[in-house]
């Protein structure tokens, strides 16, 4: 949808954006994030040609933005800024309708669209359409800013710290509503912020910018779990993941090589194996690594005939989880279930790993132990 190709922007000798290449897929909400002055706004404004890059190109729908008519390009991209950018001398209606009216769209259609947009941003059209921006709260004003951006039904929407000036409650509310709106409308949104919590909440992908270059561009999960470098790590905060534990998946915390036994082994053999590895259960698998069952030490001790094969005595009725399951669900399962460990399998029942109470505990306690190490 939007493709940056080696974009550089210099003011004088100083490069504010250096050689950025970036691909934004249709329907994604991409957050550009970084500290103040790192070039986020500049990068955003290059997309709608408010800033002319020193070199490089940006393609929108595979066509260079410089091959579009400047005005047309902008009318097909919503633009929302921090200070709302609403016109104070125009009513809410006039603000929302300005571009459609300039385009001489049908009056009735415009009016219907305005009411629709107001509903969309959660404001009663009858009450608010004929008010002036100064008669609205900050949060309401920014809702109008968002409504105006959607007025021409653009495919792309650019937002430059739209919620940063709001009080925390309105901010959280508008973030939720934007996420909800995006879930329904699936526009391509480029969103600038310096607030990591905001990014985590709304982003499909985040692009962390350091001094005009991309430090990391990936999904929120990936960036959190595998920060590309110490800059990214410092920026997102080391224990950031714990403010969104739902992002941690089973595969991140599971034991990758659980102790297994083939289904045709004897019970005697299984007891020896458990002793040797100091575990109280074994995963029973066949030659193709398919999980067939589980044997527990306490059950095996009770079996009289230790020459029996494990497949005849193994447990068949137990919970399994997928590698992609999130940790919050797993904790619930562990809490409610009788087993102290849960096998992890993929859709073809192949054994991938094992979650145990202690592996969970280790993961959870890491966040408290690590900061101490950095202090000393």
């Amino acid at each position: 949808m939007i493709k940056f190709k080696n974009i550089t922007k210099k003011y004088g000798q100083q490069a504010v954006v250096s050689d950025i290449s970036l691909r934004i897929e249709k329907g994604d909400l991409v957050v550009l994030i970084g500290p103040s002055g790192c070039g986020k706004t500049t990068l955003l404004k290059i997309i709608n040609r408010l800033v002319k890059p020193t070199s490089g190109d940006v393609l929108v729908n595979d066509k260079s933005i410089f091959d579009y008519d400047e005005i047309e390009l902008r009318r097909n991209m919503g633009y929302v800024i921090q200070q709302t950018g609403l016109f104070p001398h125009m009513t809410v209606r006039e603000n929302i309708e300005i571009v459609p009216r300039l385009q001489r769209h049908n009056k009735k259609a415009i009016a219907e669209r305005s009411a629709e947009l107001m509903e969309m941003v959660g404001l009663e059209p009858n009450i608010y359409l004929d008010r002036y921006p100064f008669e609205l709260s900050g949060g309401q004003q920014q809702r109008i800013g968002v409504a105006r951006a959607f007025a021409t039904d653009p495919e792309v929407i650019l937002m430059d710290e739209p919620f940063s000036a709001l009080d925390p409650i309105s901010r959280l509310q508008l973030q939720d509503e934007l996420a909800e709106l995006q879930r329904k409308l699936k526009r391509t949104i480029v969103f600038v912020t310096h607030d990591m919590d905001e990014a985590v909440k709304i982003a499909d992908k985040i692009c962390i910018i350091n001094n005009g270059s991309i430090a990391q561009y990936d999904t929120v999960e990936e960036v959190m779990k595998n920060p590309a470098d110490s800059y990214v790590e410092g920026f997102i905060g080391k224990n950031r993941i714990w403010s969104s534990p739902q992002l941690i998946q089973v595969k991140d915390v599971m034991i990758n090589d659980p102790v297994c036994i083939y289904d045709n082994a004897t019970i005697r053999r299984s007891i020896e194996k458990m002793r040797a590895h100091k575990v109280d259960s074994l995963m029973v698998i066949d030659k193709s690594n398919t999980l067939l069952g589980v044997v527990l030490a306490k059950d095996m001790q009770l079996v009289q005939d230790k020459r029996q094969q494990v497949r005849d005595v193994m447990l068949l009725d137990f919970m399994t989880v997928r590698p992609e399951t999130d940790i919050v669900d797993v904790i619930n399962i562990v809490n409610n279930g009788s087993l102290s460990s849960i096998p992890v399998t993929d859709e073809s029942k192949a054994l991938k790993g094992l979650i145990t109470k202690s592996s969970l505990l280790t993961t959870v306690t890491q966040q408290y132990i690590e900061p101490k190490e950095t202090v000393s």
Partner: protein, 225 residues
């Protein structure tokens, strides 16, 4: 004869001259606006023009009006023409200056947003900048208009007519009543122009800058609850 009787006995003449005075003033101001506002817009867009244009307007205003009139007569003759020329030249500065100031004190970020949502430069000017700058521009026009009333009086000196004619006749014939018959209506006219100007200023002030902003908000709150 006392003053009031004098004025009433000359009522027809006074009214005719007053009308002529108003006409000359209005005509001059219209021309000043037609020249001054575009010049103000121009220098707000083309920065290098700003200093020379304002400089010239400043210098012109510093010339004493009588001297300027004398200077104009050889070129434009006597009568209304040089009078209008002078009034226009004197009233340009406040109009140019206020137009330029009004246009350049508008929030930059909002203007960039206007551009960003796809308004052309001309649309930004006509739909955003001018409406927002209008009260400041109107204030400039008001100052010019009030000054013009006085200038047109002086222009009677070169045969432009108007209320000034009565004053000059009075001075020549040492007739105090005649001087006052010209001066009092001229004074009232200046005040009236100021009043009308202030009315225009109020009317053209966008709702967002008006004093009753708070009242509106309170009213809305009442509706809400």
């Amino acid at each position: 004869m006392n003053l009031l009787e004098f004025i009433f006995s000359h009522m027809d003449d006074v009214l005719a001259r007053l009308l002529q005075h108003i006409q000359t003033t209005l005509f001059s101001i219209t021309i000043s606006v037609l020249i001054g506002v575009p010049l103000g817009i121009l220098i707000s867009y083309i920065k290098p023009f700003k200093k020379p244009v304002l400089g010239v307007a400043n210098v012109v205003q510093a010339i004493p009006s009588i001297a300027l009139l004398g200077f104009l007569v050889p070129f434009l003759g006597i009568g209304e023409k040089p009078a209008i020329f002078m009034v226009v030249i004197y009233s340009l500065l406040p109009i140019i200056k206020n137009t330029a100031t009004g246009l350049s004190t508008i929030d930059e970020e909002m203007l960039e947003a206007a551009k960003g949502i796809g308004m052309t430069k001309f649309q930004v000017l006509t739909r955003v900048k001018l409406p927002l700058a209008l009260p400041v521009i109107m204030a400039g026009i008001r100052i010019s208009a009030v000054t013009s009333v006085g200038l047109v009086t002086i222009a009677a000196f070169i045969g432009a007519g108007g209320l000034g004619y009565l004053i000059y006749s009075g001075i020549r014939t040492v007739n105090t009543n005649l001087i006052l018959t010209g001066a009092i209506p001229a004074c009232i006219l200046a005040l009236a122009v100021d009043g009308v100007g202030s009315l225009f200023e109020k009317v053209t002030t966008p709702v967002c800058f008006r004093n009753n902003k708070k009242e509106r908000r309170d009213k809305n709150e009442k509706i809400n609850t």
